[in-house]
Amino acid sequence: MDLGVKSTPYTSSNASWKSAADAVPGRFPAGLKVLVVDDDPTCLRILEKMLKNCLYEVTTCNRAEVALNFLRDHKNGCDIVISDVHMPDMDGFKLLEHVGLEMDLPVIMMSADDSKQVVMKGVTHGACDYLIKPVRIEALKNIWQHVVRKKQHELKDKDLEHSGSVEEGDRQPKTYEDADCSHSANEGNWKNSKRRKDEEDEAEDRDDTSALKKPRVVWSVELHQQFVTAVNQLGIDKAVPKKILELMNVPGLTRENVASHLQKYRLYLRRLSGVSQHHNGLGSPFMGATDAQFVSMSSLNSVDLQALAASAHIPNHSLASIQAAALGRATSKSPIPLPLVDQRNIFNFENPKLRFGEGQNESSSKQVNLLHGVPMNMNSKQLSSLHQSALSNMNMHTHPQTSQSSSLMMQMAQLQPQLRPQNLNDIKGSRNGIEIISGPQYTSHPKPSTSADFTSQSKDFSGNKAFPLPCNSGMSGAVMKGSRAFLPNYDVLNNLNQSRNQEWRMQNAGSSFGLPQHSSIQRGLDVSSSLGESRILPANKASLSLVEGHGNTPNVSQHLNFPAYDKSLRSKAERLPGMGFQNGLLHERFGQEDLMSALLKQQQEGMVVPVETEFGYDGYQLDNLPV
């Protein structure tokens, strides 16, 4: 396929990036930021025009890797992603998973292939919709519903964590329930689970009224460790939030906090189990009654396997064994590798992840091998610094960073790509099959080039700053809608059918990461990370064509990967105040982002200010947000 190397990786058909920032909230869904990924230039051009006619802001991209880089670079640059299924450099479903994990955006798949298997694959991988080519403009007019739905779901999720806002959150999603569009299958389950959750929430509210007013819980490293210890003590099967809460014995922590964290943790483990299967060839215990079609995917990277594992009801004992392995106990299963991708996606904080991994290191050297060159012994300070550098990456777009940042970024980039090849070493795509380009060989990169990449990139996207704002506007609507069947209720995990589990897993993975979800959708979609497929990168009023324009793309992407995560978190927190579309949404969205932003702030206080100012956000205070 024509790689279309151009001078600028993004092409914009609109004049100004900044114009997006002027998006009027009341225009929603106009101004929705859509990223279209299709290797067919004809289709891409047609879709671009159609989406523009729908008054969306369009970014086009003919390569999945470039698309992922764009998404990572511009956390708030996209509300929803539309991707072709068959692409030469990366399977569309893979992109779907990555977007779901990293950015937690709604992703719409499209293809000329309308066979049931492919459509089913889209569903199980977490696509929020599947369009058959040739696409008609009517099909595109309502894609905004996916954004809203996802936001809705995230808000609902947040509400679980912050009981103080539960009632409000309950109210909001309910008002949108009627406005939900088609997707009846999802909707039905979603509504049911929502009701269940609502009831549970309300019951909990009454019990925990005294704790309602406490500030949002930040799952610090120590807290997470306590949580993990408690879970392990109880055993993954018996680890219910109430008991975990008791074991943890943390004053001020509510059952809801634990419940939501447990849910994310389970998804994280599930993903790990998929990876471990992949790496250790232990497919059978997890595959269970998997679809033959999925089994045939075993040659794909571990991400697919995880999806597969998730879709096949992972028995609790399997999860438990995974966990046990992770903790260094002797099990028949191999130790769980810690794909940084998952770590990044599922849990917002690197430290606990690494610790998790470090613990595993002791149990098996395999894990270490998996992370070529990855500094497994990174301490929390290093992680924090990486975090900072990731954040500083954001600044890179407009100002070249200091050498320290560059080295940190490179370090971070190292982390990311390292694991990818591991996890995705079976990917058929030529480019490591993944967005993360150069994996292990990314040992040292000259700082200047790094800076140069960013600088040049920043030139290309002078309107970066503008992204978040428009995104916000687009996002606010999206935030409101709860996603499909993704119930924040952790109990649902076991109850959902395969496809839901799949989607959910991915969704939650993305949401808990919180980081990668730059795009406005991510903001609201923090909760539903896995589905990140629908990462929407709103193209600020511009139609951007993302083409691999730079030979350094791999480096850049690496840099961008990490920062993207951080940025998304920050951008989320920052965007809230700016969000305009629906004020009610602000409240809800904020909940999720508060958690993440607070966590981020904890870790990199020094970086907060520059980031905020760079993106033109007034230093908004978390306290000021009505929750």
Partner: protein, 141 residues
């Protein structure tokens, strides 16, 4: 310019293309996208299609020559070409593509070879007709 507002000759040709099954509804979608800001949108897209699809056609040809038993690859390339041609509303071309893919499915190389000739023919035929059509449209402006 709206399709139904074309001057006589261009309009006549346009109708013929639809009536004779060369174009389908998707072409109408393209026409609907054409507006003042993009007054030649349809022609641009068609040109884009023909310049891009040439390489797909070439790829299929090479595959049929070098590794004719690689039906999966043939199907993949044809799938791309079919998606692309269907996006401009190339009805007859699309039909031949489907036929080709069916032969790939049953691994009938002769069927594939024969059908591919049809694909190329329809591809070239539509290209000529559309070039003529756009010429008429241009002259009428």
């Amino acid at each position: 310019m709206e399709g139904n507002q074309l001057p006589c000759q261009a309009s006549y040709m346009r109708n013929a293309l639809f009536n004779q099954g060369y174009l389908d509804d998707q072409f109408l979608q393209l026409e609907d996208l054409q507006d003042e800001a993009n007054p030649h949108f349809v022609e641009e897209v068609v040109k884009l299609f023909y310049s891009d699809s040439a390489r797909l056609i070439r790829n299929i040809e090479l595959t049929l020559e070098n590794t004719p038993s690689d039906f999966e690859k043939l199907d993949n390339i044809m799938h791309q070409y079919k998606g692309s041609s269907s996006s401009i509303g190339a009805k007859k071309v699309k039909k031949e593509c489907t036929q080709f893919q069916e032969y790939c499915e049953v691994e009938n190389i002769d069927g594939c070879l024969r059908t591919f000739q049809e694909v190329k023919q329809e591809h070239a035929s539509l290209k000529r007709k559309l070039e003529n059509y756009f010429q008429l449209v241009r002259e009428a402006r």
